[in-house]
Assembly symmetry: C4
Homo-oligomer: 217 residues x 4
Amino acid sequence: MSAIADIRKTVASLHAQLTKYELVIWTAGNVSARVPDQDLMVIKPSGVSYDDLGPEAMVVTDLHGNLVEGDHSPSSDTAAHAYVYRHMPHVGGVVHTHSTFATAWAARGESIPCVITMMADEFGGDIPVGPFALIGDDSIGQGIVETLADSRSRAVLMHGHGPFTIGKDAKDAVKAAVMLEDVARTVHHAFQLGKPERIAQEHIDSLYARYQNVYGQ
Amino acid sequence: MSAIADIRKTVASLHAQLTKYELVIWTAGNVSARVPDQDLMVIKPSGVSYDDLGPEAMVVTDLHGNLVEGDHSPSSDTAAHAYVYRHMPHVGGVVHTHSTFATAWAARGESIPCVITMMADEFGGDIPVGPFALIGDDSIGQGIVETLADSRSRAVLMHGHGPFTIGKDAKDAVKAAVMLEDVARTVHHAFQLGKPERIAQEHIDSLYARYQNVYGQ
Amino acid sequence: MSAIADIRKTVASLHAQLTKYELVIWTAGNVSARVPDQDLMVIKPSGVSYDDLGPEAMVVTDLHGNLVEGDHSPSSDTAAHAYVYRHMPHVGGVVHTHSTFATAWAARGESIPCVITMMADEFGGDIPVGPFALIGDDSIGQGIVETLADSRSRAVLMHGHGPFTIGKDAKDAVKAAVMLEDVARTVHHAFQLGKPERIAQEHIDSLYARYQNVYGQ
Amino acid sequence: MSAIADIRKTVASLHAQLTKYELVIWTAGNVSARVPDQDLMVIKPSGVSYDDLGPEAMVVTDLHGNLVEGDHSPSSDTAAHAYVYRHMPHVGGVVHTHSTFATAWAARGESIPCVITMMADEFGGDIPVGPFALIGDDSIGQGIVETLADSRSRAVLMHGHGPFTIGKDAKDAVKAAVMLEDVARTVHHAFQLGKPERIAQEHIDSLYARYQNVYGQ
């Protein structure tokens, strides 16, 4: 169970990135991580303040969202996270926020066009929009998976709701949430005073390929 | 009197949430709490800096705003808070701010349409607008009470003035003030580049019902 | 000279309010205070970082901006501050910033209309615009004084430049700078999605009269 | 090698200014400094978190971007920095960010018009736009150098990408990056509610001349 203890620690501390970058307020937003090789996930509890999100507050569920370990109820978005883990085996982390600018695009149901190189680098093109879906069953998870299946993007804007991001692990999904809000804000402001052109597809492809292979250490 | 001592502490510390979320500047804004079973309330003093708002600086008044205990004059908005407590017995906390985006909607006298699920969850629909009213008598309190009587919302935008929020206790009213500014900002930006559609009423109803009953611990 | 020592301390510490409220960046912006009964003023030095603005870094000049005491050159805006003190005997403090939204209105040379009660309370009406004026002689000071002579406002937007605020002392002028940016931002956003109406003049008058006489301790 | 040790320290600590002024997120953005008289430069490593950017993490390369000293790969923007140092001998520091408002102007490929005195002071006129250029060869560096050769500005907006700034040393280039985002944001907001007029060229010239010669200590 020490793998789970480590993941609890990681997931708890990644929530601090959500507040640092002002992607969440009060108790909104959640990070989860898959427990490798165990059909389990670690996720934030429901409605607990960010000041009280230590490792021991994190919740362990199976990949249908049933509580396995923990003193709190899991996040009310647990079903969506679980659906993603069941249907996208390469995904190791999921993040949901209501970050301001990503949610503004989501409210209009508009994808964010790839007009800056950072979007090409990080998301490989536009940020797609997923369907409007109610909480309570698998509709949100299904909407995320179906939308991201057709895209290089690690982020999806659920219509009328807000963004979900995925990653190879929880940190990578948090990075995607942070970068998403940054590009959502920048492109929002870019469109307020004119109509920036989408970067040519061949340039997007080459930027994305380079960034995936060359960037970092 | 130890109940009052506790409430002084709570109300004092909740003011820190107003600055943390940048809902207030300088000495603007105020939180109050009803003292259960005593026809009394605890409220912020008038014109005192946020750095000096310890428990002992808080003021106790009756539900007509008359000073009962404290070294300072009560907030200049005391009459409005008191009116709410007299006419809405289920309300245990009231908050007033001039938070930027809520006040921008208030300046236009426009209600905030429910275009994101978080609004449905938290406020059960649109954020309504109350009448323009001058300080100095019961008009502001009356405007708040009459507007909220017709609404599931815990927030009202007083025309040309700014938001008031209510809650079952002071913390709940502060949460409403924080969430209000968040949705006011997000929906503002959503409308800047288009016209997001209101969520269907049946979906709003179902989201609101679920959130009131299921969310949290 | 102990009065001057106190004023050095006050002026130095008030600069921290400018950074706290994000009204200035790098070395921009300056606060000054009149030395009562001495035809002297204390002002920020030119081009010194906000991290190095202790009391000893402050500069004392006469009311023509000539250096009287201090190791640094006075702020490049000293002539404007000095002109205000010479021509407005009731003014005890002057602040200049390039705060974002006030400067955006100033860039257009547009006054900020009084559409929220906080503006009526704090400034007694619209925030007026002063002329475009070059640095280097008395034109800026003259523009400030002539504009504010016709107004209840403690703030003026110098066209194509930025805001100056005055007060009965330096703290009051800093408060005006903070409140000015707050209303400039709120009213900016209010106008982005429509056309808020100016508050009726009689209501502005009554709000202003009340706030000057009743608010605070 | 003690000159290099000092420069490592300076470059490392200047990265903290980028986060302080919120010009960068996650690992984006980079500062470099020329090593005087040595055909070397010190630059940020690629993809390392801002929390881990101590002096020892900095990388030394020659002016073609080849690693000379350091445990990490140099920033993926190293080629652009190196090109600038090779072709602009008076430049001692280069900074690249994706700061929100500068990047929004860059996304549209629009120069920022000189409508406020602070732009005249600091940049001597409009902020020019450079060509869209892909990472991987000298195109970005070439675009920066050719654009800035025709301008008094220390900042260039690379089309569809983001800003680069130069300075006589690294601190001066960081100052330019901070001031650039500030004017990009202010002028953005100014244009949202109207069309501010460019300052007359003769006034720009006189403000720029004065600021370069008189301001500071």
